[in-house]
């Protein structure tokens, strides 16, 4: 098939996946079951991998395949499994009452999405793959950020952090053509994994000495 249609298809695919990621993000915001949150995150990462795959396929940039594979290995399989294990070991399944209740958070996320698109608007010219991926990425970052201070459980905060990471990666893959240089991609992936492991260690130690994972209990250091 000719290039025109291929770009057509690719951009549609990418837009679709990005939108999906956004949807999962919003679900993540309202959902309070920890295990479900982890699943949602896994699905979001899968969509990210899909975006990467699309880019790799249609613009035959082979090294982006590596990104896709790494994403699947790391963010779709390994990290969810790790967190899942943590959660089961700790045996807490419910997130406690977040800072803002569901409707308010949804409203806020709507606002953030709007902001994301406003910020991203001037750069549509730069987007060759599907329009508004930058907007989506921006929104993912902002809402992930919101999710982070809206929740109290250590695990959810880690998830939120990873969601922000996803947003960044989306931007990396879709905005800057063909993803970043390979070194950087590897570095980022490696960092994310190590970060989560370190966080895991800390969560474990915190549970040891606080016998709870409620980070709002961590407020002895004042002034």
């Amino acid at each position: 098939m000719n290039a025109a249609t291929s770009t057509e298809i690719s951009s549609q695919l990418i837009t679709f996946c990005a939108a999906g990621m956004l949807v999962f993000q919003l679900l993540l915001v309202v959902q309070r079951m920890l295990l479900t949150n982890i699943r949602l995150f896994a699905l979001q990462s899968a969509l990210l991998a899909a975006v990467a795959g699309t880019v790799a396929y249609f613009y035959n940039a082979t090294h982006v395949y590596i990104v896709a594979v790494l994403t699947i290995l790391g963010k779709v399989i390994f990290l969810p499994w790790l967190l899942d294990r943590q959660v089961r070991r700790i045996g807490i399944t419910q997130e406690i009452e977040p800072l803002l209740n569901a409707p308010t958070s949804m409203l806020l996320c709507g606002g953030l999405t709007l902001l994301g698109y406003i910020v991203a608007r001037p750069f549509t010219a730069l987007e060759r793959l599907g329009n508004n991926t930058l907007g989506v990425a921006m929104t993912l970052v902002l809402t992930g950020f919101f999710l982070m201070f809206n929740r109290r459980k250590a695990i959810t905060q880690v998830l939120a952090l990873l969601a922000v990471e996803n947003g960044v990666m989306l931007a990396a893959v879709a905005l800057a053509t063909y993803g970043m240089p390979l070194v950087v991609e590897l570095g980022i992936f490696f960092d994310v994994v190590v970060a989560v492991m370190v966080l895991g260690i800390l969560v474990y130690r915190i549970r040891e000495s606080f016998d709870s994972m409620d980070t709002s209990k961590l407020n002895q250091l004042k002034g």
Binding site: V168, A171, V183, I188, V198, S209, L221, G223
Partner: protein
């Protein structure tokens, strides 16, 4: 001969070696040795840089200009001092049962890795790699912060890692934007390199809006790591809860490493936009940090937190210096990096000695008259405080003075007024706290063995170095700093 690669490898090797060696003495000796070697390499690097201007290795993967060389020097000096200090300090901690064998080893493995990360930050040519290195320093230092495994230290570590990695995620976002700008609208199949050396050459063609956006994210991200208000909130916790050698490295260098990353973006942005956009951000947030630090210092009750906030203030000072962008100011700020690294580490060492003697750091319970109970450390602490308070003959007076002078040159009298006012407030707080801590008659004579010799030696070393370089800046060093300043001001 190649220097950059060894500078990266030596600490890595040392760290990994510490995983294997059995004896504690060997570990301590090894790290001191490694950092001593690094110092030598750093000094050698200065010559090379002054000679060639820019040193690159591994096919442009590693890159060192005057600024990097200066940072390398600062890192290696402080790390050496803290290695010397740690030798006595951790032995004492082990004896007190503050740390276990395992944690002891952990310290000696992680500290060199931490250092290695910092070296990579300043030597990386690729902005993405630089980001990766910063994240690495964060991850390696987190476990050091949590070393004592107290509730408070875990809390501090948690806040540090969460805020830190969030910030770094944002920084990555900014990096991505820069890359996108580098790629430019017309995509070619050939991947453009993401190397600093190349970016600077093509900076002016970048998309302005994108670079602005990039700088905002990078500013928030690296600013968080550099402890700029209002992203500084992790800083007092982490710095006060970490073991003193680590606090010294955190306050002394790692803040400046993040600042270095920020500066790279600042240079890029200014080169691209040609407007003082980034300067204004630096100036504003610098002043904000100083003003935020001041009240916390006035009413602080914990010695280490006191000096942690003081570091916040000094980060602010440097940012103001860079933001004013006048030759004098930038020169002062660059020099300030070095002086502050020396003094602040010495101060945290003193805090560590106090803690090991009194087993607490709360000013009220410490009481007064430390000059009597621990004369050596107290005298050195007094000297360090004189220096950090910006009193002559120590160099910080010179740097702060020239920053203000630069501000006047650049025509920001109000900013200068605010700057001086913040300095005065901080001075008042610092002086009243320290005077009441050191002077007077001690009610209780704390027991326990006297401070290990190495703990005092490290302080003395730093203060001596400071004193010497306050009144005498050797030609090459001066040249280096001037070059670094001109790099920051975007004059290659």
């Amino acid at each position: 001969m190649s220097l950059l690669a060894p500078i990266l490898l030596v600490p890595l090797v040392a760290g990994l070696a510490c995983l294997l060696v059995p004896s504690r003495r060997v570990m301590a000796g090894l790290s001191v040795l490694a950092f001593g070697l690094l110092l030598a390499l750093g000094i050698a690097l200065i010559d090379q840089v002054l000679e060639r201007g820019v040193v690159t290795e591994w096919g442009e993967f590693l890159y060192a200009d005057a600024l990097s060389a200066w940072m390398v020097l600062v890192i290696s000096v402080v790390s050496l001092a803290s290695a010397i200090y740690a030798a006595g300090y951790l032995r004492r901690d082990l004896a007190d049962g503050a740390v276990t064998e395992r944690r002891f080893r952990e310290f000696y493995v992680l500290t060199p890795l931490f250092a290695a990360g910092m070296f990579l930050v300043v030597l990386a040519n690729n902005l993405g790699v630089m980001w990766f290195a910063v994240e690495a320093t964060a991850l390696s230092s987190v476990l050091l912060v949590a070393l004592y495994n107290r509730r408070t230290s875990l809390e501090a570590a948690w806040k540090y890692i969460i805020l830190g990695s969030l910030g770094l995620a944002l920084a990555l976002f900014g990096t991505v934007f820069v890359y996108a700008a580098a790629v430019g609208p017309h995509a070619s199949d050939k991947l453009p390199s993401f190397n600093w050396s190349r970016l600077m050459t093509v900076a002016p063609q970048f998309d302005h809006g994108l670079i602005k956006l990039a700088f905002v994210f990078a500013f928030i991200g690296y600013g968080t790591k550099a402890g700029l208000a209002p992203m500084h909130t992790w800083l007092p916790d982490a710095h006060s809860e970490a073991p003193s050698p680590t606090s010294a490295m955190l306050s002394g260098v790692s803040l400046k490493i993040a600042l270095y990353a920020l500066l790279r973006f600042h240079i890029l942005t200014t080169a691209c936009l040609g407007t003082p956009f980034s300067q204004h951000l630096l100036l504003g947030f610098g002043l904000l940090s100083m003003c935020v630090a001041a009240p916390f210092i006035l009413v602080q009750t914990n010695v280490k937190r006191l000096f942690a906030y003081h570091s916040l203030e000094h980060v602010g000072i440097m940012c103001v210096g860079f933001g004013l962008a006048a030759p004098l100011a930038v020169f002062g700020a660059v020099l300030h990096m070095g002086y502050h690294a020396l003094v602040k580490s010495a101060i945290f060492f003193a805090a560590g000695n106090i803690h090991q003697k009194y087993h607490c750091l709360e000013l009220p319970s410490l009481g007064e008259g430390l000059l009597q109970t621990m004369p050596a450390s107290s005298t050195l602490l007094a000297l360090a405080v004189i220096a950090i308070a910006g009193l002559p003959p120590f160099g910080i007076f010179l740097t702060e003075f020239s920053i203000v002078a630069g501000g006047m040159q650049a025509g920001h009298p109000l900013a200068c007024g605010l700057f001086v006012a913040a300095l005065l407030t901080v001075f008042s707080g610092l002086l009243s706290h320290v005077a009441h801590l050191l002077l007077g008659t001690a009610e209780r004579q704390p027991g326990g063995p006297s401070t290990p010799i190495s703990c005092v030696a490290a302080m003395a070393l730093l203060i001596a170095v400071l004193a010497v370089f306050s009144i005498w800046l050797p030609k090459p060093l001066l040249q280096l700093i001037t070059q670094a300043a001109s790099i920051i001001r975007g004059i290659p």
